[in-house]
């Protein structure tokens, strides 16, 4: 529950004015590299890509090594249709290019992904669920905050929308500035807000889910701000929540560092080789505005 974690952290920081963080040098012994599968697909009519790379030592810099020569097959289990993802440029990006308004499938369809690499086969499942729409995106000009690094002067945007009525829905709310995904604005929701409980059904999204702006990179006049609401599965929601917890881990209320779960399972139960990463399929809705002077 990120609301509460963030809030706890802020509350604690307010009390402990003397607390401090500084960067130190720590040596750890890295383990052998593992295969990383980055497979977040949508049913849009645009090129769908899966990226294969390797893990690197935690403190390494530069680009991560890409993995070419793997075989990737996506099966729409509902229709039986197969999609071959090919690494034509030998850059670790495996792509499937739809023709016209074609797509991998429709709401309710189930999918299986198979990745074969160096005699190991990994498989994962996903499903296409419905999503909801953003009603509006607003923005207002804010001055620099107390920490001008964390809150720069610029236009801060907020979106309004509500959960689709009925059933349990999971969303990944993604923010883009000039078509660039803002990875630091990391919002996902169960129904109208977080938590695996009944009661958020049909609820409007509340702060901080509505926030679209990374305080380090607010929009300026002329910038395009877009919100996309991706439907995700319950498992993908859990993956994002775990990833967020590990990525933002630290401080007094840090959780034990641990591996974020993966849905890529080695089909050979005797093999000790594991993969890292995630396979997900989403239906997407979006709304974009261009920031005008206010």
């Amino acid at each position: 529950m990120r609301f509460f974690q963030n809030f706890l952290r802020a509350a604690f920081a307010a009390v402990v004015l003397a607390a401090c963080e500084d960067v130190v040098q720590v040596d750890v012994t890295p383990a052998n590299a593992q295969l990383v599968v980055d497979a977040f697909l949508t049913n849009r009519d645009t090129t769908q890509t899966i990226r294969l790379t390797q893990t690197v030592p935690y403190f390494s810099e530069g680009k991560v090594p890409v993995v070419s020569g793997a075989e990737i097959l996506l099966v729409n289990q509902t229709t039986g249709r197969e999609f071959v993802f090919a690494d034509t440029k030998i850059d670790g990006i495996y792509a499937w290019q739809p023709l016209g308004s074609d797509s991998i499938g429709a709401i309710g369809h189930s999918f299986q992904l198979t990745v074969r690499h160096q005699n190991e086969t990994f498989m994962a499942q996903s499903r296409l669920s419905r999503t909801t729409v953003a009603d509006s995106v607003t923005y207002d000009l804010r001055e620099a905050g107390q920490d001008p690094e964390e809150q720069k002067k610029g236009y801060y945007s907020t979106f309004y929308g509500r959960d689709a009525v009925g059933g349990r829905d999971y969303y990944w709310i993604r923010s883009y500035k000039n078509n660039a995904y803002q990875s630091r604005v990391f919002n996902f929701a169960v129904d109208g807000f977080g938590g695996e409980t009944d009661g958020g059904d049909g609820f409007p999204f509340i702060p901080p889910l509505q926030n679209l702006t990374d305080g380090r990179n607010p929009a300026q006049v002329g910038d395009k701000v877009r919100v996309e609401i991706w439907s995700i599965t319950r498992e993908t929601f859990a993956f994002l929540e775990q990833a967020q917890r590990q990525i933002t881990n630290g401080g007094l209320f840090a959780v034990t560092p641990e591996n974020v779960r993966t849905n890529l399972k080695n089909t050979n139960p005797a093999s000790k080789t594991k993969a890292v990463g995630w396979f997900s399929t989403s239906v997407v809705s979006g709304l974009e505005v261009v920031v005008k002077e206010k």
């Binding site: 990875s183 409980t197 990833a243 630290g250």
Partner: protein
């Protein structure tokens, strides 16, 4: 009842064996011992026949009973800091003798550190017990100059904490939920204010603090590691008086007065922090409108109805509040205790306690523009009744027996979401349980050298409906489990029943007047568990009962020790070695979801633990220089066999600190000044660190830990050490005025050590990733952070008064 009969038979059987029959008629002398100045009862006062070894101690309510053969005796009543009382008595019938002790005067009291019997360290059968009276606690240099019970406890051997600012404390390798923290016998579920910088106990109201780490007597149960028994003082029943202080972070005021002179009195104390008020001008931008403060109120009423009956009513109510215009967050404990002391006759004393305790927190969000609101609260409530009897059988045997029942009402989460369309309630099922215990214990002197205390407790725990029992088929292998069935139980129906025998044993072999050997064994069973997987416990952590899936935790502890006093009891020394074997320790699957999760039990697993250590303690209690030194060498580990957690191997607990040294000293200068210092040196706690990372396009740094082992990193250069200093200046008391006051000047972390609370790895905030992103040129994707709670010297001044 069956068990109670068994216990009774067992005990009276033992007593019969231990007691040769004597023909001579015996009589008892009994009564209360009180402070002549305030009427307050005194705990642990020695009542003895002068010139012999025969004697007894007053109990927690100041009551004593001494049975002797008929005859003339020269009776003495002595207590450190008070004038010894002496009286000739002629014992021809049972007799009642209440004693009021006069204090020795201000000058001498200044150098008294301990208010217990001078040779208690050696003579008492109890071991692994640390008593701190409030005068001792007040002498330890404190954070922001504010005297604090729990932070003082952390200086004792065998006690540590995961880091400053963290809630609670760890005793002999146990978790923070394994301490039974009592205020006037009512449990406190979160002992922290401001996340752990201060505890809930108002030092002006506290009379006596006792920490029991081992050889735990049978009247206590329900937690594995320790009992922290905090007792509040009684109001002055002679005259109106009060005390208080004004400090850097909060102010305190307490008043006490007789209601009926010598019979009934009250005391009430309040504290409130005001950093929020002081910080207001600095709270601008998004911090504007922030609230953060705490307050608490502690009160007690006592009434001596007659020589046989006394009643006490005490209560605590405290709250921490944080908030902003959009968020509200608060938490706190409330407790109420009603006690009735009844003297049946010269030999049988009863205390009947009834208490109520509630810990709750509340979180609320609101958005006025959209007219939405989300409120959430969680509680643990309990009610208990506990009759406890002490039977002063004869000078060689003191029997204690009783029963206790606690009703638990767990409300893990009640939330309400409100929008324009209406209100949606979100409720996690409440859980109910009943915990009962029956116990008996005897302290027996065998010959001049040997004292035994043996006891037995039988505890029963019933997890009750109405509620749902989750059934899992999958074994707990370290991965989350989904229930295969959910079974509904009606109101009051027993979902799961547990029963455990808990033997307790202690022995004291006196070697000579100044030294003794002690040994003890105890089994403790804990039926309720704090669900927390963060480094420091948060106020949001919830308690859960043992269920059909969660088994009660069990600990077996063995301790041996050597105790010696020297220089006319001016120095106390002890060394103790302990070993603890723990079962059913609560742990969590990787990526467990502990908040608002109806299937919480599917994310919990249980393992085994072991903890062992060696504790040294030296205390100097006489002279101008007083203080204590404690050193602990210890280890605490855990294992989750047959799971993937840390590969199913033994791993160190997060709060493991092999070396733990603390020295605290107070020196009374001539005149009105005294100075004090406190030094702490501890091994750093171990950490789990990522070794690798993966890059996803939308998650630029996804850390990985292919090795899977927990808590393997520890670097001695991150050892914790700190020096605190303080100086106290007494103001001259004006002739004929009761107003006494003193200033305390303190410096916490005097040499500005930046002690890490933790080392952790994170994505560099400047890194936007992924690596091909042009904006990342020259920016390291990741960094290691040393996180320190206190990163500077913290000076403070406080003004304290008494009238």
């Amino acid at each position: 009842m069956k068990h109670f009969l068994c216990l009774s038979l067992l005990f009276f059987g033992c007593l019969a064996l231990g007691q040769p029959v004597r023909a001579q008629a015996k009589f008892s002398v009994s009564g209360y011992v009180r402070d002549a100045k305030s009427g307050e009862t005194l705990i642990g006062v020695t009542v003895f026949v002068r010139g012999t070894n025969t004697g007894t101690l007053t109990n927690e309510y100041g009551f004593y009973s001494l049975t002797l053969p008929g005859g003339d005796y020269d009776l003495g009543v002595s207590y450190v800091g008070f004038q010894t009382f002496a009286k000739q008595i002629s014992l021809t019938a049972n007799q009642k003798l209440d004693v009021e002790l006069a204090d020795e005067g201000v000058q001498l009291q200044e150098v008294v550190v301990t208010a217990e019997r001078a040779d208690a360290n050696v003579k008492d059968v109890a071991m692994s017990v640390n008593k701190l009276d409030i005068k001792t606690i007040q002498k330890i240099p404190a954070f922001l100059g504010e005297v604090d019970v729990i932070r003082s406890i952390q200086l004792l051997p065998g006690v540590s904490t995961v880091g400053e600012g963290a809630t609670g404390f760890n005793v002999r390798g146990g978790g923070i939920d394994q301490n039974l923290v009592l205020i006037d016998e009512a449990p406190v579920y979160n002992s922290a204010h401001l996340f752990g910088f201060f505890s809930v106990f108002n030092p002006d109201i506290v009379k006596d603090v006792k920490l029991i780490k081992g050889g735990i007597p049978a009247q206590y149960g329900g937690r594995l590691s320790s009992i922290l028994d905090v007792r509040t003082k009684e109001g002055n029943n002679k005259r109106f008086s009060g005390q208080g202080g004004v400090g850097a972070i909060f102010s305190r005021l307490s008043i006490e007065a007789p209601i009926i002179k010598d019979k009934a009195s009250f005391v009430v104390g309040v504290r409130r922090s005001y950093i929020d008020v002081l910080a207001k001008p600095f709270l601008t931008g998004d911090l504007k409108g922030s609230q953060f403060y705490f307050y608490d109120l502690t009160a007690k009423l006592n009434y001596i109805i007659n020589a046989k009956n006394t009643v006490f009513l005490s209560g605590y109510f405290g709250r921490d509040v944080f908030g902003s215009p959009d968020f509200r967050f608060n938490w706190g404990n409330s407790t109420a205790t009603l006690r009735w002391n009844h003297v049946f006759n010269n030999k049988v004393f009863m205390n009947l306690t009834a208490f109520y305790s509630n810990y709750d927190y509340f979180i609320g969000f609101q958005d006025e523009v959209q007219n939405t609101r989300f409120d959430w609260n969680s509680n643990i409530i309990n009610y208990s009744l506990k009759p406890d009897f002490t039977y002063y059988l004869n000078t060689r045997n003191t029997v204690r027996f009783g029963v206790q029942s606690i009703v638990y009402d767990f409300r893990p989460g009640n939330a309400e979401a409100q929008s324009q369309q209406g209100t949606n309630p979100i409720n996690l099922d409440p859980k109910y349980a009943l915990e009962s215990g029956v116990y008996a214990d005897n302290e027996q002197k065998i010959g001049e050298k040997l004292t035994l205390q043996y006891g037995l407790r039988y505890s029963v725990f019933q997890y009750l409906g109405s509620g749902n029992a989750y059934i899992y088929d999958q074994p707990a292998d370290g991965t989350p489990r989904t229930p295969t069935a959910i079974q509904e139980y009606g109101r009051g129906k027993v979902i799961k029943n547990y029963g455990n025998w808990e033997p307790r044993f202690s022995a004291n072999l006196t070697l000579n007047d100044r030294s003794s050997l002690k040994a003890s064994y105890n089994r403790m069973v804990q039926y309720i568990h704090l669900v927390s997987n963060t480094a420091a416990s948060t106020p949001l952590d919830i308690w859960t009962p043992s269920t059909n899936n969660i088994k009660p935790q069990i600990a077996d502890q063995m301790v041996v020790g050597y105790f010696q006093n020297f220089a006319d009891n001016g120095y106390e020394f002890s060394v103790e070695a302990y070993y603890k074997d723990l079962q059913n320790q609560l742990d969590y699957v990787d990526n467990a979801n502990l908040l608002l999760n109806p299937n919480l039990e599917g994310d919990l697993i249980q393992g085994i633990g072991r903890a062992y250590g060696l504790e040294f303690f030296l205390r100097k209690s006489k002279g101008r220089l007083t203080g204590f030194l404690s050193y602990t060498l210890s280890r605490t580990e855990r294992r989750l066999p047959n799971t993937s957690i840390s590969r199913g191997e033994w791993f160190l607990n997060r709060f493991d600190r092999p070396h733990n040294l603390s020295i605290t000293a107070d020196y009374a200068l001539t005149g009105l000044w005294s100075i004090a210092a406190n030094f702490v040196l501890q091994s750093p706690t171990p950490a789990t660190l990522y070794t690798n990372r993966a890059e996803l396009r939308d998650l630029p740094v996804l850390p990985t830990l292919p090795d899977e082992r927990r808590n393997t990193f520890r670097d001695p250069k991150y050892a914790y050490h700190r020096l605190d200093l303080s100086a106290t200046k007494k103001n001259r008391q004006k002739e004929g005025r009761r107003w006494e006051s003193y200033w305390v000047f303190s410096v916490y972390n005097a040499y500005n050590r930046r002690n890490p609370f933790s080392i952790y790895f994170q994505q560099n905030p400047k890194y936007t990733g992924p690596s091909e992103n042009a904006g990342n040129a020259g920016v390291n994707p990741t960094q290691a952070i040393r996180y320190s709670i206190i990163g500077s010297v913290v000076p403070a001044v406080s003004y304290n008064f008494k009238f």
